[in-house]
């Protein structure tokens, strides 16, 4: 037990040797994981933005022309009672107004309003957040189409494709990225440990010659690796948080209105433990003879 404490202490002492090399390494670990964290932050925020708009799905519903206003209004009430996000309704008059507004200045709708060519319409927005989005989208489509008096329901299938594409891109980039981060960190940490070890080669040999067990020799190296990973990770998370605070409002303007959020705790904790693990791993890597 006392021995274990002693070995832990030796691992810590190791960090004090080759000071410059340690600084270089932890620096490199910091920068690498910072870069990776930045990438993560980017993806995470784009993801937030995409899902907050793209998991909603819109239908444009057209009723038959000339339907009594009360009937249509009744159906609007019904739709409103469904599990939807929002409903925008347009009587033929409102639709015409929108149309006219979108046109050049002094366009007189007078004669149009007398024989309005437009049907009543509504814009229904639902959330695809829960369950199978495909099924949900289809179900809602049927329900809308089966409302009496509804002539046509249009929607943009591309909208869903976009969201899906984004997800597939992220997942394609995400894991390779994380993998990369690991490999680099591993390489960098292993490199210093290697250096540490080469530097300690004589010491290790002498330790073994005076009767130290290989456990006594290897364990401190492992601790050193873990500490390097952990320290580098902590510093890079601090840096990242600083950056996030600085650029929080960078995209907070029309039409984006995106606030850059920090990574959730789960992410940061896994980042840290991953880096620590990598540090330990590389202490094994460093044992390879050269």
């Amino acid at each position: 037990m006392m021995m274990l404490g002693h070995l832990l202490y030796l691992g810590l002492v190791n960090l004090g040797r080759n000071k410059w090399a340690q600084v270089f390494t932890i620096g490199a670990v910091v920068f690498v994981s910072f870069l990776a964290g930045l990438f993560l932050l980017l993806l995470y925020n784009i993801n937030l933005a995409v899902t907050s708009t793209q998991d909603k799905f819109q239908y444009q519903v057209y009723w038959e022309k000339g339907l009594p206003e009360q009937d249509v209004a009744g159906q609007w009430e019904e739709i409103r009672s469904w599990d939807i996000v929002s409903l925008k309704t347009f009587t033929p008059e409102q639709a015409l107004q929108v149309l006219v507004d979108s046109m050049a200045g002094d366009f007189d709708p007078g004669h149009l309003s007398r024989s309005n060519p437009l049907p009543p319409t509504a814009l229904v927005e639902i959330s695809l957040g829960v369950g199978d989005p495909d099924q949900l989208a289809k179900d809602t489509l049927y329900r809308l189409e089966e409302l009496p008096g509804v002539e046509r329901v249009s929607y943009n299938p591309l909208q869903m494709d976009m969201a899906r594409t984004w997800m597939s891109i992220t997942s394609r980039i995400f894991w390779p990225l994380i993998g990369f981060m690991f490999v680099i960190t591993c390489l960098v940490v292993a490199n210093t440990l290697k250096l540490n070890q080469i530097n300690r080669r004589e010491e290790v040999e002498i330790l073994s010659l005076v009767g130290a067990s290989s456990w006594y020799i290897q364990f401190p190296l492992l601790i050193t690796g873990a500490l390097q990973g952990l320290l580098g990770g902590l510093l890079s998370i601090l840096l990242l948080k600083g950056l996030q605070v600085m650029i929080k409002d960078l995209l907070f303007f029309p039409p984006l209105w995106i606030r850059i959020e920090f990574l959730p705790p789960l992410y940061t904790v896994s980042l840290l433990s991953a880096l620590t693990g990598v540090g330990i791993l590389s202490s094994f890597l460093a044992r390879s003879k050269d």
């Binding site: 002693h6 004589e202 002498i206 073994s208 010659l209 005076v210 009767g211 130290a212």
Partner: protein, 227 residues
């Protein structure tokens, strides 16, 4: 305590040791002599387990070097201490740390360690240099640190490879005194040296002379009486 039979060792095609046979009992004192390159260091390193045994039989302090596993080697080395010809001390550590190392590595308690280290350093006239870094002491002082590190564990067998090469006559004699003390208390000692004065100074010592890897002279019967 030591039993070597038909031991041969080659580095590539060069035979550094050829068919060596001898035995030592507990408490024996052996001088190993021979010209430069005769194989003295090689023999010591085999006995200490730092070169694997190639041919023949070699037993020391109850361990068989032909069958010992790497995981058990450190146990052997806690019984069999060695003074290297090139010292092999940690130049960036203090004299004290170097001498304490074999005890710390065993997990000995601190007060014990201090007592032992202090005694040994005093015996080798190193007490004034305890807190100097080993790269900052003279050649002869380094050599004595190497000796101190070996004797501090109170080994069953002490292998000393040319431990007086950098010492003047006075210090060499003092060092012999230290060795004799251990010898008296039952430590088996193998002492490689070129210094004939030292050999003469020790009575009832066994002497083994090597030449180009072979035994050319010995002052006691090498073959065991096959009882």
């Amino acid at each position: 305590m030591i039993r070597v039979r038909h031991l041969s060792h080659s580095f590539g095609r060069y035979w550094a040791l050829k068919n060596i046979t001898f035995s030592l009992e507990k408490g024996d004192f052996l001088f190993l002599t021979g010209a430069s390159g005769a194989g003295k260091t090689t023999l010591m390193r085999i006995l200490h387990g730092s070169i694997p045994l190639q041919r023949g039989i070699s037993q020391i302090a109850g361990f068989d070097l032909g069958t010992i596993t790497p995981g058990k080697l450190h146990q052997l080395r806690r019984q069999v201490a060695i003074v290297f010809q090139d010292f092999r001390i940690l130049s960036e550590r203090t004299v004290w740390d170097n001498v304490a190392l074999p005890l710390v590595v065993k997990g000995m308690v601190k007060t014990q360690v201090q007592k032992r280290v202090r005694a040994v350093l005093r015996g080798l006239r190193l007490d004034k240099k305890s807190w100097c870094l080993c790269r900052e002491i003279s050649g002869g002082e380094q050599q004595r640190v190497a000796v101190a590190r070996a004797v501090v564990v109170n080994p069953k067998v002490l292998l000393a490879d040319e431990p007086t090469g950098n010492l003047d006559r006075n210090l060499a004699m003092q060092l012999m005194d230290v060795f004799r003390q251990f010898h008296v208390h039952g430590t088996t000692i193998v002492f490689a040296t070129h210094n004939e004065d030292l050999i003469k100074s020790q009575h009832n010592a066994k002497i083994l002379s090597l030449k180009e890897g072979a035994v050319v002279d010995a002052n006691w019967p090498l073959e065991e009486s096959e009882a």
